[in-house]
Assembly symmetry: C2
Homo-oligomer: 463 residues x 2
Amino acid sequence: MTPQEPPPDDAAPEGEAPARSPAEQLHLPLIEGDWEATVALAARLHPAELADALERLDDHDREMLFQTVPNEVLGEALYYVEPHFRGQLVQGLPAPQLGEMLEGVADDVATDFVQDMEPDTAGAVLDSLDEDRRHAIERLLTHPEDTAGGRMTGQLVTVRPEFTVARTLELLRQLQPDASQPFYLYVIDDRRRLCGVVNLRNLITSPGETLVSSVMGTELISVRADADQEEAARLLRQYRLLALPVVDSHDRLLGTVTSDDVLDVIEEEATEDMFRMVGVSEEEDLRDVWRSVRYRLPWLSVNLLTALAAGYVVSLFQDTLATVVVLTAFLPVIAGHGGNAGIQTLTVVVRSLALGRVSIRDASLLIKHEVVTGTIMGLVSGSLVALVALMWQGDAWLGLVVGVALLANVVIGAVFGTLIPLALDRLGQDPALSGGIWLTTTTDVLGFLFYLGTATLMIGYLD
Amino acid sequence: MTPQEPPPDDAAPEGEAPARSPAEQLHLPLIEGDWEATVALAARLHPAELADALERLDDHDREMLFQTVPNEVLGEALYYVEPHFRGQLVQGLPAPQLGEMLEGVADDVATDFVQDMEPDTAGAVLDSLDEDRRHAIERLLTHPEDTAGGRMTGQLVTVRPEFTVARTLELLRQLQPDASQPFYLYVIDDRRRLCGVVNLRNLITSPGETLVSSVMGTELISVRADADQEEAARLLRQYRLLALPVVDSHDRLLGTVTSDDVLDVIEEEATEDMFRMVGVSEEEDLRDVWRSVRYRLPWLSVNLLTALAAGYVVSLFQDTLATVVVLTAFLPVIAGHGGNAGIQTLTVVVRSLALGRVSIRDASLLIKHEVVTGTIMGLVSGSLVALVALMWQGDAWLGLVVGVALLANVVIGAVFGTLIPLALDRLGQDPALSGGIWLTTTTDVLGFLFYLGTATLMIGYLD
């Protein structure tokens, strides 16, 4: 965000001027060193807005903010910071301050922050917390970040089936559960195994002497702690739940994942898919060129090698190209068109796999659909480009060679656009992983081989 | 949650066989015409699983299912059907059956279905509903589908600030609000303006004589009904809410959008971005080739024209290429590399705009970041390819021409990868819209012009 001079308050020359973002509002007092105004403004903002400002301010302003605003106010904001930004944000802060800031944060979010700290800092921060809280976070830390267990909160209210509604309500009044928790109570048996779920509404609308066992739902959708976070997201979405219980391998209740946590997962996974297909990283930061170079260059370098392979194929046909120079004009058409048709297929397949709309079992259906679609589109584009070649160069044989090569390369794109992500998936890799490189390499190399090979065979007919 | 009877124990004939999907389980009784088994199985499935089966079955099986399974069972499943699939699913069903099926569905979901019907069918279905329900749906129908208003449900419980907690709980018991509603009660003044929000937990944990006005939260985050659905998703995510009140231009409460609705929005928008960048449609169906052709062919045709433009540029330099044929071998390298570097930039910018991480005001920061990143990567790749050209062809001048052209095209890709989505955004278009075509056209045309132009100028030095 480029810092802009905010309009002076007393002038307000523009009348309906667009509202300034929290980061913009904070910038002026921060550069002027007006701590009092900074602290007052930070306290007035919604914690989510302060979080937004923390994400957008430049390093200097952010550092000043961390030094002036009270830790409990900062702590409230931490809950709202974007997950992918958490690691960066707390880097370099002293452990005692981090400890104080994390005191008021829900334990799943606190765990997320601790996970992103250097091991030494993480240890010091954990030691500074009170014992119950440290244990809660340490338990959550045992689950890898991208699993259902890593996304869950362990703060939940459990009851027993033999409780009455009145006793349960009394329990709730005593516990005063914190507001970030879901609105379900989980019912467990004497071995902590999940056996039912009650929502607060059922509780309120039932007579006090009713037993929990008769108001609880027993059709339980739950997820194993070691399941991928995407699986948790998929279940929450498919069953339209606000919270999903997380259990261990013995069906014992460990915590819950809520649908607001999953909003992040869904956005992250979609971003990751998009970014992986083209070799960029979610971790990129607009203010850090070297980080971007580090993430993007390896992919571009592989791409360079594969492009050179395509170039090598072209060089094999130098004699043909020297004889019929006009063939060169259609090289970008053949390569580009096959690549683009393939990228359409690749994108559809990658996304369909990610959303669980198709699985590896649907491979033959997928391939058939893409090949037929590709053939039809190839016939149309091939005819068009043949016509262009004929009218432009007045050479029907050239038209035929170019048209058939275009058809062939669109079909090649469709076949490999399907096979590459399915193969990556079967190999246990992310289907999105650099699919773009392998695909365009294939369409370039095979497309040129086919086009220039055919042209060489037909060289006698081409002017 | 709809309580259902658990599956009978005898229904597990397969032992440890991999679990078959609901669609697979239903397929056999359906093709065998075993209606009894079909109906029994459909009733045993969770409605979300029946919905999944409806989405996956082929047309014949689905039709049979609609004819055999009772409408109220089908109706429960409709709630769980993927939004993008709703239109297709109910196509061709008779209005009276649709009316019966929609009876048990939450009004926002019912509205979604009605929106996707042919106008005649929609009218007949609405007429078959009881009056209150018809009015509720008609009110929701006035909001376009992709706005906050189009995503909201109007079923909510409102109270007044002067109510006591006891009176509010009594009201809840009388109303027995339906289970798909959020867990918040909204507080409105005498003109229906939203003035506070109470969550059920606060209510339960407060003494009965407390006034609603003293337990309600007044820091209200709400969204205007005519705001884009993405804005609603952004607010729910930023403020980590489970439900967001929707108001009209006079701040009057109309309904709420819940975070489970928004899971769909976020997935849809991400898919849309990915698909639009390559010219495919979210509406594609694996079983319908013509639909895919219809959506993809226009984009591929535009792409063909722009590829021909690049080919035309190449043809302008035929004399140069005929003189130094080896130049052709580097054509795919220059074009491919510039295009790929540009696609990296384009993807980062499109996604950052969609997630609200950058705005049009950050344009100069973005461009600077991408140009510097592109220049560094171009210097590395340019040097590498120059070295390859030198070693392969033993021609330092060729290396220089190819290396500089590669650098230039990577920078061209970075600049246009930033400018194209920003320009589309400023023009009020979706930044993802076919960004891929315009970008690769630019890198192809400008890249070839630069490469072959330089080569022509330097022709005396090239062997």
